[in-house]
Structure formats: C-alpha cells, structure tokens
C-alpha cells in the first residue's frame, strides 16, 4: 500500500475543535498518520470533519467539507463540544439533513464537563477504514468532483500541448538556424564545378533535418498521448515547400558582354602603348595584346560568374531553410492540434490517461 492510504485528515472550520479531535485520534490510530493539513498531491484514507455543536453548519463550512472530501468516500463528521452544548442533537440533525450519506457522530474531545467522548467516532472511523481497505479505491466521489477532475485534466492536457508547441517550435528554429549558417558557409566556398553537387547535398541535408525533427515530434506526441492512438494527418510533401535553384543566367550573359568589352579595351590600350615604344615589333605586339585581352576577358567572366552563383546559392540556402521551417512548423501545429483534440475527447469521455490503459475512442467521424 502506498502512503496515501495511511493518512487520516482531521479538518474543520475555526474554533470547531479539530485540533483536540486530531490529538485524540493520533493516540488511538497509531498505524495511521493523523494530520490537520494535507501535503501537495496527498490523498487521505479517511477524512474526519469536525464542526462545532454551537450552531448548524453554514455555507462556508459546507464548502470546506466538500473540498476535504473531494478525493475520498470515507468521511465521518464529528459534531464537537457536545459536553457544553445541550442541543447538539438538534444541530447534528440539522447538519445531517444536508449530508445524509455521511456518518455523523457527536464528540467531546476536550470536555469542560464530564468525560471524553470519542469512542463512537473511533468505532465509525475504524469500520470505514476497514471497508475502505477491502474496496478497490474509488477515486472520485460526486458528479461535481468528477467534473472538476475532468476540467483539471483537460486543462493539464492543454497546458502540456501548449508546452510541447513552444518547445517544438524552439527546436525547429534552432535546427533551421544551424543548418542555414552551415550551408551558407559552404556556399561561400563552393567552386563552379561543385554547384550541382552542392545543390543535391543541400537537398539531402534538408530532408535529413526534416526527418529528424519529425521523429522528435512523434516521440513527444507519443509521450503526451500516453496510450491514446493518434492519427497522422496527411500533409503536403516537403518538396513543395522547397524552392528550386535557378542559376543567374541573365546576369551571366551581361557579365560576358561587359567582360568582353573590358578585355577588348585592355587589349587596345596595351597594343597601342607597346606599339609606341617598339614600332618595329608591331605585329607581335598586336598578337600579344589580343591574347592578353582574351585571357583577361575569360578570367573576369569566370570570376564574376562564380561570385554571382555563390550569391545566388546563398539566397537559395536561406529560402530553402525558411521553407523547411515553414513545413515543419505546419506539420507540428497540425499534429499537435490533432493530439489535443484526441486527448480532449478522451478526457471528456471520463477516461484518464494516467489510469490503466483504455481503448481509444472511435474517431471515424474525422475525414
């Protein structure tokens, strides 16, 4: 048996005499922990609610009783101070009219007149505890408290889903930023013949990252659902989020034209300069100047084209990682929404993921 069976909660409104009753019960129930206040998450095996015999219970006392007895059926109500309040039986009957299902006894725990009278309470409490130990535990008592628990469960599910949402989107952002930085560094060093290879490498890495994030998401959702089977919604393929790489063709053509002009100009200038200095070598100077001009043109074209492609690749990498992020975000949101509605449906049906496994409610209504 766990700890929660070993506590008896003695509670009551101010001046009701709960402390005296608790003191006496502590002496008589050595095997239980008799407390006047529960720790967080603690559930008592039985509750002894103490009210004074001075006057019938009021609404705030009833609320306290409801709250104390929310998690157990084993409740005994003790009407205290019966040694001085001669009309305690009338008070008890008035109270009993309100809570007929509970066991009611009169006690004098710290009597000013006569003897201590708690034996009836001890008897009732022992009987209740024995009965309680035999029965499987009924976790919830009234419809109201069931409703409260359901609401609490729904709220807990919701908050878990929201937390998952925040964590997943954070993770997606971190992965995408890391990938983008990495790929941009690579794009800055790519050579002309490596462009195609680089493009296919980018695709591969994006697909891998998407698969990794998907696996994380699935793992988290499985933990969140805890037994509830979740359907995977159909989503557009990842490819549709990723833009294709377009080499900068028009820019390349323009580069060719401008570089040719630049080469021609350079060749003419050099040719005329050398022809001035050595007129006898003119044919050789013309040939050399032409060759130099052509070489310069080719080098400028190649360099400009490489730089343009690197810039285009850089832009493309940014777009691809943004596309990846959008795809994963959408996927995560859709799946979390599915999970939330499935869990809410389970909670509303009165089943609890933290109790023994149960079947998934039919979800055929979804298309």
């Amino acid at each position: 048996m766990s700890d929660e069976w070993e506590t008896i909660l003695v509670i009551g409104p101010a001046c009701s005499g709960a402390t005296s009753v608790a003191g006496l019960l502590r002496a008589r129930f050595g095997e239980y922990r008799v407390v006047e206040q529960l720790g967080p998450g603690e559930h008592p095996a039985a509750v002894v609610f103490v009210v004074s015999a001075a006057a019938p219970m009021v609404e705030s006392d009833a609320r306290l009783l409801d709250a104390a007895a929310a998690h157990t059926d084993a409740v005994v109500v003790a009407v205290s101070k019966i040694d001085v309040h001669r009309r305690w039986r009338q008070v008890l009957e008035a109270n009993r009219a309100r809570y007929a299902r509970l066991a009611w006894v009169g006690v004098a725990a710290d009597p000013h007149v006569g003897q201590v009278k708690v034996e009836l309470l001890v008897e009732q409490l022992r009987a209740l505890l024995t009965r309680q130990a035999r029965l499987p535990r009924k976790p919830l008592r009234s419809k109201e408290s069931q409703l409260r628990t359901r609401t609490a469960l729904a709220l807990a599910t919701r908050s878990q889903v929201q937390q998952s949402r925040v964590q997943i989107s954070g993770q997606v952002r971190a992965v995408c930023i890391a990938l983008r930085t990495d790929l941009r560094n690579e794009a800055a060093e790519v050579t002309r013949c490596e462009v195609d290879e680089f493009c296919s490498r980018v695709r591969r890495r994006v697909v891998n990252a998407a698969a990794e994030l998907d696996a994380t998401l699935t793992d988290r959702l499985t933990r969140l659902a805890d037994g509830v089977e979740l359907t995977t919604p159909s989503l557009p393929p990842l490819e549709s989020y990723l833009p294709r790489f377009c080499p900068p063709r028009l820019e390349n053509r323009l580069t060719v034209l401008l570089s040719a002009g630049f080469g021609l100009g350079a060749a003419l200038t050099l040719g005329r300069l050398f022809a001035e200095f050595a007129p006898s070598w003119t044919p050789a100077v013309i040939g050399g100047a032409l060759a130099g001009g052509i070489a310069l043109t080719v080098w400028v074209i190649r360099s400009r084209r490489l730089l343009a492609e690197r810039a285009a690749l850089d832009r493309w990498v940014t777009e691809v990682t943004a596309g990846l992020r959008a795809a994963i975000d959408e996927r995560a949101l859709t799946r979390l929404l599915e999970a939330e509605s499935a869990l809410a449906a389970v909670a509303a049906a009165g089943e609890f993921p933290d109790l023994p496994r149960f079947t998934n409610p039919t979800r055929r209504d979804r298309t």
Partner: protein, 302 residues
Amino acid sequence: MADDLLADLLDEVSAPVRVGVTGRPGAGRGTVRRALRGAGAAVVDRGEPAEIDVYVFCETFTREDIAALSAARRPIVAVLNKADLTCLRGDGPMVIAAQRCRELQRRAGVPTRPLAALLAVAASPGGLDRSIVEALGNVTVEPARLMPAVCRRLLAELDLFGIAVASTAVSGGADPVALAALLRTVSGVEAVLDEIERASAPIRYRRLVGTLAGMAEHAVGPRGARVAEFLASDAVVLARMAAAEKVVGRSDGCTDHLRRAIHWQRYASGPVAALHRACGTDISRGALRLWVRAGGCPESIP
C-alpha cells in the same frame, strides 16, 4: 409656545432607536431578541424596519458573518452569543469571551461584545419565578434534592454557567432582585446596550437635525417669527451640540469655550465625513453660545 415645541422635539428625538436582530441561524437570535427586549431595548420583530442592527454569531466569525458585517448599511453591533459556554475553565467564560471579542472586533472593524442571552432573559422582569429560585437554593445542598423536571428546567433556562453563578448567589443569601441584578451584570447585556446606544448616536443626531429642518419650513411669515426665534434659541443650539458630541464620542468638558469653538471649527474644516463636519460645526456653534453666555464679547473683524 417654545416650551411646547421643545417638548415635542424632545419626544421625537428621544424616542427609542429601533433595533433589529439578525445573524447566523442557530446562534440564538430569538433569545437575543428576548434578552434585549427584556433589558429595555426597542427590538423590532423580524421583517420590521430597524434603524440599527444587532448581528448575532457564536464562537467566531465565519466567512458569512464577515460578509454580512461588511455589507451592513446601517450601524451594526456584533454580539457573540452563548458566551457562557466559551470555556468553563480559567478566568471563566465571560472573560475569555470578552478577550475573543476584542480580537474579533479588530478583525471585522465592528463593535463586538459577548452576551449570554439566556442569562439576560432570566434576569429580565419575570424571568425567574419562585420555584426556580428555590430549586437554585437546593442545588448546593449535599446531596442535591432536585426533581428531573426541575433539573431540565434549570438547564433550559440558565444552562451550566448560569446555574453555577445563580446557585452560588442564592446560597450566599441573595434575594430574587439581587439575583436578577447579578445575572444581568454577568450576562454582558449592559455592555451590548451601551454599544447600541453608542452606535445610535448618529441616528439620534440625524433625527434632531431632520426635525429642526422640518420646523424651519414653518419659520416664515408673521406667525413663523416665534418658530424662528425658537430655532435660534440657546436651548436648540445646545441640544444640537449635545447630540453632536455623542456622535463624535467626545465631550471634552473644556471650560475655555472659545478655544473649544476654534478647535471644533478646525475639525469641521478638516478631512472628515459630512456627518462629522456637521457635528463639528454644531459643537463649535454651541461652544460660542456658551462663551457669550459666560461673558464673552464678540467683535466684528474690521
């Protein structure tokens, strides 16, 4: 004429303040009603309009009590009933109940007094008959010779603490009158009545001011001159002053009337409620009249 008017005025103003008894069910509202009525308060029946409330509770304030006390629109006095059963040890129940009342009064901000309503009912005229007094004489005799029916009656009418107090007094030779006086003292009803009286001072003051305002409507025309004369007379001004002094709870008895007038005028112009401002003005005016009567000479400011 002035005397007649004054007599009417006095009748109207000194009419008892109507007390309504409310409170926690089962706390003994009925007994408190009888006790206060027996002690001379003008207690109205349930549902009848009252001017002041007595809120009956027992043991301590519940949330409902606090809510009811803080929502009260009329002056209210909280009464801890069944004070005779608070604790039958130590200094005795009434002393312990009085201590508890002081704490509760701090908490709720409402005058709170203990009361053993059963004893107060017994102390009221006709509360104790001869057979009860005789039975009380027999309680202390060893062995006690009491019929069960008498026993039950004693318990119902005096309860444990009451029987203890009364039988000790009877065996000490107290006659029924002295016994009633003792029970009245012990029950705490005097303190409750004092508290009601204190809480009804604003009601009486408002009554006086309202009546005077009603009379002022007749103080016009040739026949109204005498009424106007009456309203401005020392008697009226001093009556207003006396009623106002009860509201502010201070009768300093200062003989330097001019200083007193200045003090209350300052008080009235200070940060106080409208009622207290009116009271301050009335006291100041009364003090000036007393000053003139004592030979003071008003001078006009140039």
